[in-house]
Protein backbone atom coordinates (compact mmCIF):
# COMPACT_ATOMS: atom_id res chain seq x y z
CA UNK A 1 0.00 0.00 0.00
CA UNK A 2 2.69 2.49 0.98
CA UNK A 3 4.70 1.56 -2.09
CA UNK A 4 1.61 2.13 -4.22
CA UNK A 5 1.11 5.60 -2.75
CA UNK A 6 4.77 6.51 -3.20
CA UNK A 7 4.75 5.31 -6.79
CA UNK A 8 1.67 7.36 -7.52
CA UNK A 9 3.17 10.42 -5.84
CA UNK A 10 6.25 10.07 -8.04
CA UNK A 11 3.99 10.13 -11.07
CA UNK A 12 3.04 13.65 -10.05
CA UNK A 13 6.51 14.86 -10.98
CA UNK A 14 6.29 14.44 -14.78
CA UNK A 15 2.78 15.92 -14.76
CA UNK A 16 3.94 19.04 -12.94
CA UNK A 17 6.99 19.39 -15.20
CA UNK A 18 4.86 19.05 -18.33
CA UNK A 19 2.27 21.52 -17.09
CA UNK A 20 4.77 24.16 -15.96
CA UNK A 21 6.80 23.92 -19.17
CA UNK A 22 3.80 23.83 -21.50
CA UNK A 23 2.14 26.81 -19.87
CA UNK A 24 5.39 28.76 -19.61
CA UNK A 25 6.40 28.42 -23.24
CA UNK A 26 2.87 28.69 -24.58
CA UNK A 27 2.43 32.04 -22.84
CA UNK A 28 5.74 33.35 -24.16
CA UNK A 29 5.18 32.04 -27.69
CA UNK A 30 2.23 34.33 -28.23
CA UNK A 31 2.89 37.90 -29.32
CA UNK A 32 1.98 40.55 -26.79
CA UNK A 33 2.63 40.58 -23.09
CA UNK A 34 1.13 41.86 -19.88
CA UNK A 35 2.33 45.42 -20.49
CA UNK A 36 1.81 45.79 -24.23
CA UNK A 37 -1.94 46.09 -24.23
CA UNK A 38 -2.20 48.66 -21.46
CA UNK A 39 -3.22 51.92 -23.02
CA UNK A 40 -0.50 54.49 -23.55
CA UNK A 41 2.36 53.29 -21.38
CA UNK A 42 5.48 55.20 -22.33
CA UNK A 43 8.14 52.92 -23.89
CA UNK A 44 10.65 53.62 -21.15
CA UNK A 45 8.07 52.82 -18.46
CA UNK A 46 7.29 49.58 -20.24
CA UNK A 47 11.00 48.72 -20.36
CA UNK A 48 11.29 49.42 -16.65
CA UNK A 49 8.29 47.28 -15.88
CA UNK A 50 9.65 44.44 -17.97
CA UNK A 51 13.03 44.72 -16.29
CA UNK A 52 11.36 44.74 -12.89
CA UNK A 53 9.56 41.47 -13.62
CA UNK A 54 12.57 39.96 -15.40
CA UNK A 55 10.81 39.85 -18.77
CA UNK A 56 13.88 41.35 -20.50
CA UNK A 57 16.00 38.32 -19.59
CA UNK A 58 16.60 35.53 -22.09
CA UNK A 59 13.84 32.94 -22.12
CA UNK A 60 15.83 30.08 -20.60
CA UNK A 61 16.85 32.32 -17.72
CA UNK A 62 13.26 33.29 -16.99
CA UNK A 63 12.38 29.61 -17.08
CA UNK A 64 15.17 28.72 -14.67
CA UNK A 65 14.22 31.56 -12.34
CA UNK A 66 10.62 30.39 -12.29
CA UNK A 67 11.64 26.88 -11.32
CA UNK A 68 14.06 27.99 -8.63
CA UNK A 69 11.30 30.09 -7.05
CA UNK A 70 8.69 27.43 -7.50
CA UNK A 71 10.75 24.83 -5.67
CA UNK A 72 10.70 27.18 -2.68
CA UNK A 73 6.92 27.51 -2.95
CA UNK A 74 7.06 31.06 -4.31
CA UNK A 75 4.72 31.68 -7.23
CA UNK A 76 6.06 35.18 -7.90
CA UNK A 77 4.48 38.64 -8.12
CA UNK A 78 1.26 39.30 -9.96
CA UNK A 79 1.68 41.65 -12.91
CA UNK A 80 -1.91 42.81 -12.87
CA UNK A 81 -2.18 43.74 -9.22
CA UNK A 82 0.95 45.66 -8.32
CA UNK A 83 2.57 44.67 -5.03
CA UNK A 84 0.57 41.49 -4.59
CA UNK A 85 2.11 38.05 -4.81
CA UNK A 86 0.32 35.18 -6.45
CA UNK A 87 0.48 33.35 -3.13
CA UNK A 88 -1.45 36.19 -1.49
CA UNK A 89 -4.10 36.22 -4.21
CA UNK A 90 -4.56 32.47 -3.91
CA UNK A 91 -4.80 32.70 -0.11
CA UNK A 92 -7.37 35.43 -0.54
CA UNK A 93 -9.61 33.82 -3.17
CA UNK A 94 -9.20 30.08 -2.70
CA UNK A 95 -11.37 29.82 0.46
CA UNK A 96 -14.35 31.26 -1.42
CA UNK A 97 -14.01 28.73 -4.24
CA UNK A 98 -13.52 25.90 -1.75
CA UNK A 99 -16.60 26.91 0.20
CA UNK A 100 -18.73 27.06 -2.93
CA UNK A 101 -17.36 23.66 -3.92
CA UNK A 102 -18.07 22.17 -0.51
CA UNK A 103 -21.72 23.26 -0.60
CA UNK A 104 -22.10 21.99 -4.15
CA UNK A 105 -20.54 18.67 -3.15
CA UNK A 106 -23.03 18.43 -0.31
CA UNK A 107 -25.87 18.93 -2.80
CA UNK A 108 -24.36 16.41 -5.22
CA UNK A 109 -23.85 13.65 -2.66
CA UNK A 110 -26.92 14.45 -0.59
CA UNK A 111 -29.19 14.08 -3.62
CA UNK A 112 -27.27 11.64 -5.79
CA UNK A 113 -26.53 8.82 -3.33
CA UNK A 114 -29.96 8.39 -1.68
CA UNK A 115 -31.81 8.70 -4.98
CA UNK A 116 -29.50 6.21 -6.65
CA UNK A 117 -29.88 3.65 -3.87
CA UNK A 118 -33.66 4.10 -3.80
CA UNK A 119 -33.90 3.64 -7.56
CA UNK A 120 -31.78 0.49 -7.37
CA UNK A 121 -33.72 -1.26 -4.60
CA UNK A 122 -37.06 -0.55 -6.27
CA UNK A 123 -36.24 -1.03 -9.97
CA UNK A 124 -38.95 -0.34 -12.56
CA UNK A 125 -41.29 1.37 -10.15
CA UNK A 126 -42.46 5.00 -10.31
CA UNK A 127 -39.68 5.80 -7.85
CA UNK A 128 -37.09 4.42 -10.25
CA UNK A 129 -38.55 6.34 -13.19
CA UNK A 130 -38.69 9.54 -11.15
CA UNK A 131 -35.02 9.17 -10.21
CA UNK A 132 -34.00 8.34 -13.77
CA UNK A 133 -35.95 11.38 -14.95
CA UNK A 134 -34.15 13.62 -12.47
CA UNK A 135 -30.88 12.09 -13.58
CA UNK A 136 -31.56 12.84 -17.23
CA UNK A 137 -32.69 16.35 -16.35
CA UNK A 138 -29.43 17.03 -14.56
CA UNK A 139 -27.39 15.81 -17.53
CA UNK A 140 -29.36 17.68 -20.18
CA UNK A 141 -29.84 21.01 -18.44
CA UNK A 142 -26.29 22.34 -18.11
CA UNK A 143 -25.28 24.98 -15.52
CA UNK A 144 -25.32 27.78 -18.11
CA UNK A 145 -29.04 27.15 -18.56
CA UNK A 146 -29.92 26.01 -15.05
CA UNK A 147 -28.16 28.91 -13.30
CA UNK A 148 -29.98 31.73 -15.13
CA UNK A 149 -33.30 29.86 -14.92
CA UNK A 150 -32.90 29.35 -11.16
CA UNK A 151 -32.08 33.03 -10.65
CA UNK A 152 -34.99 34.01 -12.87
CA UNK A 153 -37.45 31.94 -10.85
CA UNK A 154 -36.14 32.17 -7.29
CA UNK A 155 -34.32 35.48 -7.47
CA UNK A 156 -36.19 37.78 -9.81
CA UNK A 157 -39.58 36.08 -9.68
CA UNK A 158 -39.99 34.98 -6.08
CA UNK A 159 -37.40 37.29 -4.46
CA UNK A 160 -36.18 34.47 -2.23
CA UNK A 161 -32.50 34.99 -2.96
CA UNK A 162 -30.16 37.59 -4.39
CA UNK A 163 -29.04 36.74 -7.89
CA UNK A 164 -25.44 37.78 -7.36
CA UNK A 165 -22.90 38.37 -4.64
CA UNK A 166 -21.41 36.32 -1.84
CA UNK A 167 -22.17 38.34 1.28
CA UNK A 168 -24.94 36.54 3.14
CA UNK A 169 -25.56 32.92 4.00
CA UNK A 170 -28.42 32.55 1.52
CA UNK A 171 -26.21 33.77 -1.32
CA UNK A 172 -24.78 30.25 -1.23
CA UNK A 173 -28.01 28.50 -2.16
CA UNK A 174 -28.40 29.20 -5.89
CA UNK A 175 -24.73 28.76 -6.91
CA UNK A 176 -24.39 25.58 -4.87
CA UNK A 177 -27.58 24.15 -6.33
CA UNK A 178 -26.55 25.03 -9.89
CA UNK A 179 -23.11 23.52 -9.53
CA UNK A 180 -24.23 20.53 -7.46
CA UNK A 181 -27.23 19.36 -9.50
CA UNK A 182 -25.25 18.37 -12.58
CA UNK A 183 -22.95 16.20 -10.48
CA UNK A 184 -25.89 14.86 -8.43
CA UNK A 185 -27.46 13.51 -11.60
CA UNK A 186 -24.31 11.68 -12.59
CA UNK A 187 -23.70 10.30 -9.10
CA UNK A 188 -27.28 9.06 -9.03
CA UNK A 189 -26.86 7.22 -12.32
CA UNK A 190 -23.61 5.61 -11.20
CA UNK A 191 -25.00 4.64 -7.79
CA UNK A 192 -28.07 3.07 -9.36
CA UNK A 193 -26.01 1.13 -11.89
CA UNK A 194 -23.45 -0.03 -9.35
CA UNK A 195 -26.05 -1.08 -6.79
CA UNK A 196 -28.14 -2.94 -9.37
CA UNK A 197 -25.12 -4.92 -10.46
CA UNK A 198 -24.07 -5.84 -6.93
CA UNK A 199 -27.56 -6.74 -5.74
CA UNK A 200 -27.59 -9.63 -8.23
CA UNK A 201 -24.37 -11.17 -6.94
CA UNK A 202 -24.12 -14.42 -5.02
CA UNK A 203 -22.89 -12.96 -1.78
CA UNK A 204 -26.02 -10.85 -1.50
CA UNK A 205 -28.13 -13.96 -1.93
CA UNK A 206 -26.04 -15.66 0.74
CA UNK A 207 -26.59 -12.72 3.09
CA UNK A 208 -30.34 -12.92 2.51
CA UNK A 209 -30.30 -16.69 3.00
CA UNK A 210 -28.61 -16.21 6.34
CA UNK A 211 -31.56 -14.11 7.37
CA UNK A 212 -30.14 -10.63 7.11
CA UNK A 213 -32.82 -7.94 6.96
CA UNK A 214 -33.28 -5.83 3.86
CA UNK A 215 -31.71 -2.77 5.48
CA UNK A 216 -28.67 -4.75 6.55
CA UNK A 217 -28.29 -6.31 3.11
CA UNK A 218 -28.39 -2.93 1.39
CA UNK A 219 -26.30 -0.87 3.78
CA UNK A 220 -23.80 -3.38 5.17
CA UNK A 221 -23.29 -5.68 2.21
CA UNK A 222 -24.27 -4.10 -1.07
CA UNK A 223 -23.31 -0.48 -0.54
CA UNK A 224 -19.58 -1.12 -0.27
CA UNK A 225 -19.37 -2.84 -3.62
CA UNK A 226 -22.08 -0.82 -5.28
CA UNK A 227 -20.40 2.49 -4.59
CA UNK A 228 -17.12 1.58 -6.32
CA UNK A 229 -18.04 3.27 -9.63
CA UNK A 230 -19.07 6.36 -7.67
CA UNK A 231 -15.70 6.51 -5.91
CA UNK A 232 -13.86 6.30 -9.23
CA UNK A 233 -15.96 9.16 -10.52
CA UNK A 234 -15.71 11.22 -7.33
CA UNK A 235 -11.96 11.85 -7.59
CA UNK A 236 -12.09 13.88 -10.79
CA UNK A 237 -15.57 15.15 -9.89
CA UNK A 238 -14.49 16.66 -6.58
CA UNK A 239 -11.55 18.30 -8.28
CA UNK A 240 -13.94 19.60 -10.93
CA UNK A 241 -16.47 20.85 -8.42
CA UNK A 242 -13.91 22.57 -6.24
CA UNK A 243 -11.98 24.17 -9.06
CA UNK A 244 -14.01 24.22 -12.25
CA UNK A 245 -16.55 26.77 -11.17
CA UNK A 246 -15.57 29.39 -13.76
CA UNK A 247 -19.10 29.61 -15.05
CA UNK A 248 -20.82 29.63 -11.68
CA UNK A 249 -18.47 32.29 -10.33
CA UNK A 250 -18.95 34.44 -13.42
CA UNK A 251 -22.69 33.92 -13.43
CA UNK A 252 -23.31 34.77 -9.77
CA UNK A 253 -20.39 37.22 -9.49
CA UNK A 254 -18.61 35.33 -6.74
CA UNK A 255 -15.10 36.56 -5.91
CA UNK A 256 -13.36 33.19 -6.26
CA UNK A 257 -10.38 31.74 -8.08
CA UNK A 258 -12.32 30.77 -11.20
CA UNK A 259 -13.19 34.35 -11.99
CA UNK A 260 -9.63 35.35 -11.11
CA UNK A 261 -8.34 32.87 -13.69
CA UNK A 262 -10.52 34.26 -16.48
CA UNK A 263 -9.35 37.77 -15.55
CA UNK A 264 -5.70 36.73 -15.43
CA UNK A 265 -5.80 35.20 -18.93
CA UNK A 266 -7.23 38.31 -20.55
CA UNK A 267 -4.71 40.49 -18.69
CA UNK A 268 -1.81 38.15 -19.64
CA UNK A 269 -0.76 38.07 -16.00
CA UNK A 270 1.92 35.39 -16.56
CA UNK A 271 2.73 34.49 -12.94
CA UNK A 272 -0.91 34.41 -11.92
CA UNK A 273 -1.91 32.21 -14.88
CA UNK A 274 0.96 29.82 -14.21
CA UNK A 275 0.26 29.69 -10.50
CA UNK A 276 -3.43 28.93 -10.97
CA UNK A 277 -2.88 26.32 -13.68
CA UNK A 278 -0.34 24.61 -11.45
CA UNK A 279 -2.63 24.75 -8.44
CA UNK A 280 -5.51 23.21 -10.38
CA UNK A 281 -3.27 20.48 -11.78
CA UNK A 282 -1.95 19.43 -8.39
CA UNK A 283 -5.51 19.44 -7.15
CA UNK A 284 -6.84 17.23 -9.94
CA UNK A 285 -3.97 14.77 -9.76
CA UNK A 286 -4.14 14.70 -5.97
CA UNK A 287 -7.86 13.96 -5.95
CA UNK A 288 -7.37 11.16 -8.47
CA UNK A 289 -4.75 9.67 -6.19
CA UNK A 290 -7.08 9.82 -3.19
CA UNK A 291 -9.84 8.20 -5.26
CA UNK A 292 -7.48 5.37 -6.25
CA UNK A 293 -6.43 4.77 -2.65
CA UNK A 294 -10.01 4.68 -1.41
CA UNK A 295 -10.86 2.29 -4.21
CA UNK A 296 -8.12 -0.13 -3.26
CA UNK A 297 -9.28 0.09 0.34
CA UNK A 298 -12.89 -0.62 -0.64
CA UNK A 299 -12.20 -3.36 -3.17
CA UNK A 300 -9.93 -6.10 -1.78
CA UNK A 301 -9.50 -7.66 -5.23
CA UNK A 302 -7.44 -4.65 -6.33
CA UNK A 303 -4.94 -5.05 -3.50
CA UNK A 304 -3.11 -7.82 -5.26
CA UNK A 305 -2.46 -5.79 -8.37
Amino acid sequence: MIRFVIRRLLQLVPVVVVVVSATFFMLRAVPGGPFTQEKAVAPEVQRNLEAYYGLDQPLWKQYATYWSRLVRGDLGYSMKYSNRTVNEIVADKLPTSLELGAWALLVALGLGLPLGVLAAIRPNTWLDYLCTGIGLFGICVPPIVLGPVLSLVFGIGLHWFDVSGWDYADDRVLPAATLGLAYAAYIMRLTRGGMLEVLHLDYIRTARAKGAGEGRVVFRHALRGGLLPVVTYLGPAIAGILTGSFIIETLFQIPGLGREFIGSTTARDYPLIMGLVLLYTVFVVGMNLVADIVQVWMNPRLRFE
Partner: protein, 296 residues
Protein backbone atom coordinates in the same frame (compact mmCIF):
# COMPACT_ATOMS: atom_id res chain seq x y z
CA UNK B 1 -44.01 -6.79 -26.86
CA UNK B 2 -45.38 -10.27 -27.57
CA UNK B 3 -46.09 -9.63 -31.25
CA UNK B 4 -42.71 -8.19 -32.08
CA UNK B 5 -40.89 -11.55 -32.45
CA UNK B 6 -43.67 -12.85 -34.69
CA UNK B 7 -42.93 -10.05 -37.11
CA UNK B 8 -39.17 -10.09 -37.00
CA UNK B 9 -38.07 -13.65 -36.52
CA UNK B 10 -39.22 -15.22 -39.82
CA UNK B 11 -37.60 -12.45 -41.81
CA UNK B 12 -34.50 -12.70 -39.74
CA UNK B 13 -34.20 -16.41 -40.37
CA UNK B 14 -34.74 -16.04 -44.11
CA UNK B 15 -32.21 -13.29 -44.58
CA UNK B 16 -29.77 -14.58 -41.99
CA UNK B 17 -29.99 -11.54 -39.72
CA UNK B 18 -26.72 -9.71 -39.44
CA UNK B 19 -25.56 -8.00 -36.29
CA UNK B 20 -26.52 -4.68 -37.85
CA UNK B 21 -30.06 -5.53 -38.82
CA UNK B 22 -30.55 -7.01 -35.35
CA UNK B 23 -29.34 -3.78 -33.81
CA UNK B 24 -31.51 -1.77 -36.18
CA UNK B 25 -34.63 -3.65 -35.09
CA UNK B 26 -33.75 -3.25 -31.44
CA UNK B 27 -33.24 0.47 -31.94
CA UNK B 28 -36.58 0.83 -33.73
CA UNK B 29 -38.36 -0.66 -30.76
CA UNK B 30 -36.83 1.93 -28.42
CA UNK B 31 -39.41 4.70 -28.72
CA UNK B 32 -37.37 7.32 -26.88
CA UNK B 33 -34.36 6.76 -29.12
CA UNK B 34 -36.48 6.94 -32.28
CA UNK B 35 -38.15 10.13 -31.07
CA UNK B 36 -34.72 11.60 -30.32
CA UNK B 37 -33.48 10.72 -33.79
CA UNK B 38 -36.55 12.39 -35.33
CA UNK B 39 -35.98 15.53 -33.23
CA UNK B 40 -32.36 15.69 -34.33
CA UNK B 41 -33.19 15.22 -38.01
CA UNK B 42 -35.91 17.89 -37.85
CA UNK B 43 -33.56 20.25 -36.07
CA UNK B 44 -30.85 19.73 -38.67
CA UNK B 45 -33.27 20.36 -41.53
CA UNK B 46 -34.72 23.41 -39.76
CA UNK B 47 -31.36 25.01 -39.13
CA UNK B 48 -30.18 24.39 -42.69
CA UNK B 49 -33.36 25.44 -44.50
CA UNK B 50 -35.22 27.65 -42.00
CA UNK B 51 -33.09 30.80 -42.19
CA UNK B 52 -33.34 30.76 -46.01
CA UNK B 53 -37.13 30.96 -45.85
CA UNK B 54 -37.26 33.90 -43.47
CA UNK B 55 -37.40 37.46 -44.77
CA UNK B 56 -35.00 38.47 -41.98
CA UNK B 57 -31.41 37.41 -41.52
CA UNK B 58 -29.77 36.79 -38.18
CA UNK B 59 -28.10 40.22 -38.25
CA UNK B 60 -30.91 42.43 -39.56
CA UNK B 61 -31.48 45.01 -36.87
CA UNK B 62 -34.66 46.94 -36.27
CA UNK B 63 -33.83 49.38 -33.53
CA UNK B 64 -37.22 51.08 -33.49
CA UNK B 65 -38.82 47.68 -32.83
CA UNK B 66 -36.49 46.72 -29.98
CA UNK B 67 -37.20 43.69 -27.83
CA UNK B 68 -40.68 42.33 -28.34
CA UNK B 69 -42.34 39.31 -26.77
CA UNK B 70 -43.12 36.26 -28.94
CA UNK B 71 -45.83 36.98 -31.52
CA UNK B 72 -47.07 35.62 -34.83
CA UNK B 73 -44.59 37.75 -36.76
CA UNK B 74 -41.66 36.73 -34.56
CA UNK B 75 -42.26 33.27 -33.12
CA UNK B 76 -39.65 33.60 -30.40
CA UNK B 77 -39.78 37.40 -30.11
CA UNK B 78 -36.96 39.80 -30.94
CA UNK B 79 -33.85 40.82 -29.03
CA UNK B 80 -32.95 44.31 -27.84
CA UNK B 81 -31.65 45.23 -31.29
CA UNK B 82 -34.88 44.06 -32.91
CA UNK B 83 -33.33 40.96 -34.45
CA UNK B 84 -35.61 37.98 -34.92
CA UNK B 85 -34.76 35.46 -32.19
CA UNK B 86 -36.13 32.43 -34.03
CA UNK B 87 -33.79 33.00 -36.97
CA UNK B 88 -30.90 33.67 -34.63
CA UNK B 89 -31.57 30.42 -32.78
CA UNK B 90 -31.62 28.44 -36.04
CA UNK B 91 -28.42 30.08 -37.27
CA UNK B 92 -26.93 29.45 -33.83
CA UNK B 93 -27.88 25.80 -34.19
CA UNK B 94 -25.71 25.61 -37.33
CA UNK B 95 -22.70 26.74 -35.35
CA UNK B 96 -23.38 24.75 -32.21
CA UNK B 97 -24.19 21.52 -34.04
CA UNK B 98 -21.43 22.16 -36.58
CA UNK B 99 -18.80 22.63 -33.90
CA UNK B 100 -20.18 19.60 -32.09
CA UNK B 101 -19.85 17.39 -35.15
CA UNK B 102 -16.52 18.76 -36.43
CA UNK B 103 -14.72 18.62 -33.09
CA UNK B 104 -16.08 15.14 -32.56
CA UNK B 105 -14.66 14.08 -35.92
CA UNK B 106 -11.27 15.48 -34.86
CA UNK B 107 -11.50 13.53 -31.60
CA UNK B 108 -12.65 10.44 -33.48
CA UNK B 109 -9.76 10.44 -35.95
CA UNK B 110 -7.08 11.06 -33.31
CA UNK B 111 -8.60 8.73 -30.74
CA UNK B 112 -9.21 5.80 -33.07
CA UNK B 113 -5.78 5.90 -34.73
CA UNK B 114 -3.97 6.35 -31.42
CA UNK B 115 -5.94 3.65 -29.63
CA UNK B 116 -5.67 1.22 -32.55
CA UNK B 117 -1.91 1.55 -32.81
CA UNK B 118 -1.39 1.19 -29.05
CA UNK B 119 -3.73 -1.79 -28.82
CA UNK B 120 -2.39 -3.60 -31.88
CA UNK B 121 1.32 -3.38 -31.18
CA UNK B 122 1.08 -3.73 -27.42
CA UNK B 123 4.23 -4.14 -25.34
CA UNK B 124 6.40 -1.17 -24.51
CA UNK B 125 4.94 1.09 -27.18
CA UNK B 126 1.49 0.46 -25.71
CA UNK B 127 2.48 1.20 -22.13
CA UNK B 128 4.31 4.34 -23.22
CA UNK B 129 1.36 5.59 -25.28
CA UNK B 130 -1.11 4.87 -22.52
CA UNK B 131 1.14 6.56 -19.95
CA UNK B 132 0.96 9.68 -22.11
CA UNK B 133 -2.83 9.43 -22.18
CA UNK B 134 -2.90 9.02 -18.39
CA UNK B 135 -0.77 12.12 -17.92
CA UNK B 136 -2.88 14.21 -20.29
CA UNK B 137 -5.99 12.84 -18.62
CA UNK B 138 -4.81 14.20 -15.31
CA UNK B 139 -4.49 17.75 -16.62
CA UNK B 140 -7.19 20.30 -15.97
CA UNK B 141 -8.03 20.64 -19.62
CA UNK B 142 -10.75 23.25 -19.42
CA UNK B 143 -8.00 25.56 -18.22
CA UNK B 144 -5.93 24.88 -21.29
CA UNK B 145 -8.83 25.37 -23.67
CA UNK B 146 -9.58 28.71 -22.00
CA UNK B 147 -5.92 29.66 -22.15
CA UNK B 148 -5.63 28.67 -25.82
CA UNK B 149 -8.69 30.59 -26.91
CA UNK B 150 -7.56 33.69 -25.03
CA UNK B 151 -4.00 33.60 -26.31
CA UNK B 152 -4.48 32.60 -29.93
CA UNK B 153 -7.37 34.85 -30.77
CA UNK B 154 -10.88 33.57 -31.05
CA UNK B 155 -10.89 31.75 -34.33
CA UNK B 156 -13.46 29.03 -34.82
CA UNK B 157 -10.92 26.65 -36.33
CA UNK B 158 -8.88 26.84 -33.18
CA UNK B 159 -11.97 26.22 -31.12
CA UNK B 160 -12.62 22.98 -33.04
CA UNK B 161 -9.04 21.87 -32.70
CA UNK B 162 -8.78 22.67 -29.01
CA UNK B 163 -12.00 20.91 -28.09
CA UNK B 164 -11.21 17.94 -30.32
CA UNK B 165 -7.80 17.65 -28.71
CA UNK B 166 -9.47 17.41 -25.32
CA UNK B 167 -12.06 14.83 -26.20
CA UNK B 168 -9.98 12.15 -27.96
CA UNK B 169 -8.58 10.55 -24.82
CA UNK B 170 -11.57 8.42 -23.84
CA UNK B 171 -12.00 7.29 -27.43
CA UNK B 172 -8.36 6.20 -27.52
CA UNK B 173 -8.82 4.14 -24.34
CA UNK B 174 -11.97 2.44 -25.60
CA UNK B 175 -10.51 1.59 -29.01
CA UNK B 176 -7.26 0.35 -27.48
CA UNK B 177 -9.08 -2.03 -25.12
CA UNK B 178 -11.20 -3.40 -27.96
CA UNK B 179 -8.32 -3.86 -30.41
CA UNK B 180 -6.27 -5.53 -27.71
CA UNK B 181 -8.98 -8.10 -27.12
CA UNK B 182 -9.20 -8.80 -30.87
CA UNK B 183 -5.45 -9.06 -31.40
CA UNK B 184 -5.35 -12.81 -30.89
CA UNK B 185 -8.59 -13.54 -32.71
CA UNK B 186 -8.46 -16.23 -35.39
CA UNK B 187 -9.58 -14.03 -38.26
CA UNK B 188 -6.71 -11.67 -37.48
CA UNK B 189 -4.26 -14.57 -37.55
CA UNK B 190 -5.82 -15.65 -40.83
CA UNK B 191 -5.38 -12.20 -42.33
CA UNK B 192 -1.77 -12.16 -41.16
CA UNK B 193 -1.15 -15.60 -42.66
CA UNK B 194 -2.46 -14.34 -45.97
CA UNK B 195 0.30 -11.77 -45.89
CA UNK B 196 -1.74 -8.61 -45.48
CA UNK B 197 0.06 -5.54 -44.17
CA UNK B 198 -0.60 -4.10 -40.76
CA UNK B 199 -2.64 -1.08 -41.90
CA UNK B 200 -4.90 -3.32 -43.93
CA UNK B 201 -5.43 -5.73 -41.06
CA UNK B 202 -6.11 -2.89 -38.64
CA UNK B 203 -8.46 -0.80 -40.72
CA UNK B 204 -10.11 -3.37 -43.01
CA UNK B 205 -10.41 -6.32 -40.67
CA UNK B 206 -10.31 -5.19 -37.08
CA UNK B 207 -11.94 -1.74 -37.04
CA UNK B 208 -15.24 -2.88 -38.60
CA UNK B 209 -15.54 -5.29 -35.69
CA UNK B 210 -15.43 -2.57 -33.10
CA UNK B 211 -17.67 -0.06 -34.89
CA UNK B 212 -20.36 -0.52 -32.26
CA UNK B 213 -18.52 1.07 -29.33
CA UNK B 214 -17.09 3.72 -31.63
CA UNK B 215 -20.54 4.75 -32.90
CA UNK B 216 -21.98 4.83 -29.39
CA UNK B 217 -19.17 6.86 -27.97
CA UNK B 218 -19.20 9.26 -30.92
CA UNK B 219 -22.88 9.98 -30.34
CA UNK B 220 -22.16 10.72 -26.69
CA UNK B 221 -19.16 12.92 -27.51
CA UNK B 222 -21.18 15.38 -29.58
CA UNK B 223 -23.22 16.68 -26.63
CA UNK B 224 -20.06 16.85 -24.49
CA UNK B 225 -18.40 19.01 -27.16
CA UNK B 226 -21.46 21.21 -27.51
CA UNK B 227 -21.36 21.79 -23.76
CA UNK B 228 -17.75 22.96 -23.93
CA UNK B 229 -18.54 25.29 -26.83
CA UNK B 230 -21.53 26.74 -25.00
CA UNK B 231 -19.54 27.19 -21.80
CA UNK B 232 -16.72 28.98 -23.64
CA UNK B 233 -19.13 31.22 -25.51
CA UNK B 234 -20.91 31.89 -22.25
CA UNK B 235 -17.66 33.13 -20.74
CA UNK B 236 -17.23 35.36 -23.79
CA UNK B 237 -14.30 33.27 -25.07
CA UNK B 238 -15.96 31.33 -27.86
CA UNK B 239 -18.11 32.47 -30.74
CA UNK B 240 -18.16 36.25 -31.09
CA UNK B 241 -21.04 38.58 -31.95
CA UNK B 242 -22.71 39.27 -34.34
CA UNK B 243 -22.49 35.54 -35.05
CA UNK B 244 -24.71 33.55 -32.83
CA UNK B 245 -24.26 30.16 -31.25
CA UNK B 246 -26.44 28.75 -28.53
CA UNK B 247 -23.81 29.64 -25.95
CA UNK B 248 -23.78 33.33 -26.93
CA UNK B 249 -27.59 33.45 -27.14
CA UNK B 250 -27.93 31.96 -23.66
CA UNK B 251 -25.31 34.39 -22.35
CA UNK B 252 -27.25 37.29 -23.84
CA UNK B 253 -30.50 35.90 -22.47
CA UNK B 254 -29.03 35.50 -18.99
CA UNK B 255 -27.91 39.13 -19.02
CA UNK B 256 -31.30 40.45 -20.04
CA UNK B 257 -33.67 37.92 -18.52
CA UNK B 258 -34.97 40.37 -15.93
CA UNK B 259 -36.95 42.26 -18.57
CA UNK B 260 -36.99 39.89 -21.53
CA UNK B 261 -37.46 36.31 -20.33
CA UNK B 262 -37.86 34.87 -23.84
CA UNK B 263 -34.27 35.66 -24.72
CA UNK B 264 -33.18 33.06 -22.15
CA UNK B 265 -36.02 30.56 -22.29
CA UNK B 266 -36.09 29.70 -26.01
CA UNK B 267 -32.38 29.15 -26.66
CA UNK B 268 -32.01 27.40 -23.30
CA UNK B 269 -34.93 25.08 -23.96
CA UNK B 270 -33.74 24.13 -27.43
CA UNK B 271 -30.20 23.52 -26.18
CA UNK B 272 -31.50 21.24 -23.45
CA UNK B 273 -33.78 19.42 -25.88
CA UNK B 274 -30.84 18.77 -28.19
CA UNK B 275 -28.60 17.50 -25.39
CA UNK B 276 -31.48 15.35 -24.21
CA UNK B 277 -32.00 13.84 -27.67
CA UNK B 278 -28.32 13.16 -28.28
CA UNK B 279 -27.93 11.46 -24.90
CA UNK B 280 -31.07 9.36 -25.32
CA UNK B 281 -30.04 8.35 -28.85
CA UNK B 282 -26.59 7.43 -27.54
CA UNK B 283 -28.11 5.32 -24.77
CA UNK B 284 -30.46 3.69 -27.25
CA UNK B 285 -27.59 2.85 -29.59
CA UNK B 286 -25.63 1.39 -26.67
CA UNK B 287 -28.52 -0.92 -25.83
CA UNK B 288 -29.16 -1.78 -29.47
CA UNK B 289 -25.54 -2.55 -30.29
CA UNK B 290 -25.13 -4.26 -26.92
CA UNK B 291 -22.07 -2.30 -25.92
CA UNK B 292 -20.93 -2.43 -22.35
CA UNK B 293 -19.31 0.76 -21.14
CA UNK B 294 -15.62 0.10 -20.75
CA UNK B 295 -12.80 2.52 -20.31
CA UNK B 296 -9.64 0.50 -19.77
Amino acid sequence: MTEAPAIFVPEAVESGASLWSDAWHRLQRNRLAVASAVVLVLLTIACLVGPLLSHQTYRDQNLSLGATAPSLGHWCGTDTLGRDLFVRILVGARLSLGIGVCATVVALVIGVSYGAVAGYFGGRLDSFMMRVVDIIYALPFTLFVILLTVLFGRSLVLLFAAIGAVEWLTMARIVRAQIQSLRRAEFVDAARTMGFGTPRILFRHMLPNILGPIIVYTTLTIPAVMLIEAALSFLGLGVQIPMSSWGTLIKEGAEKMEEFWWLLVFPGALFSLTLFSLNLLGDGLRDALDVRASKD
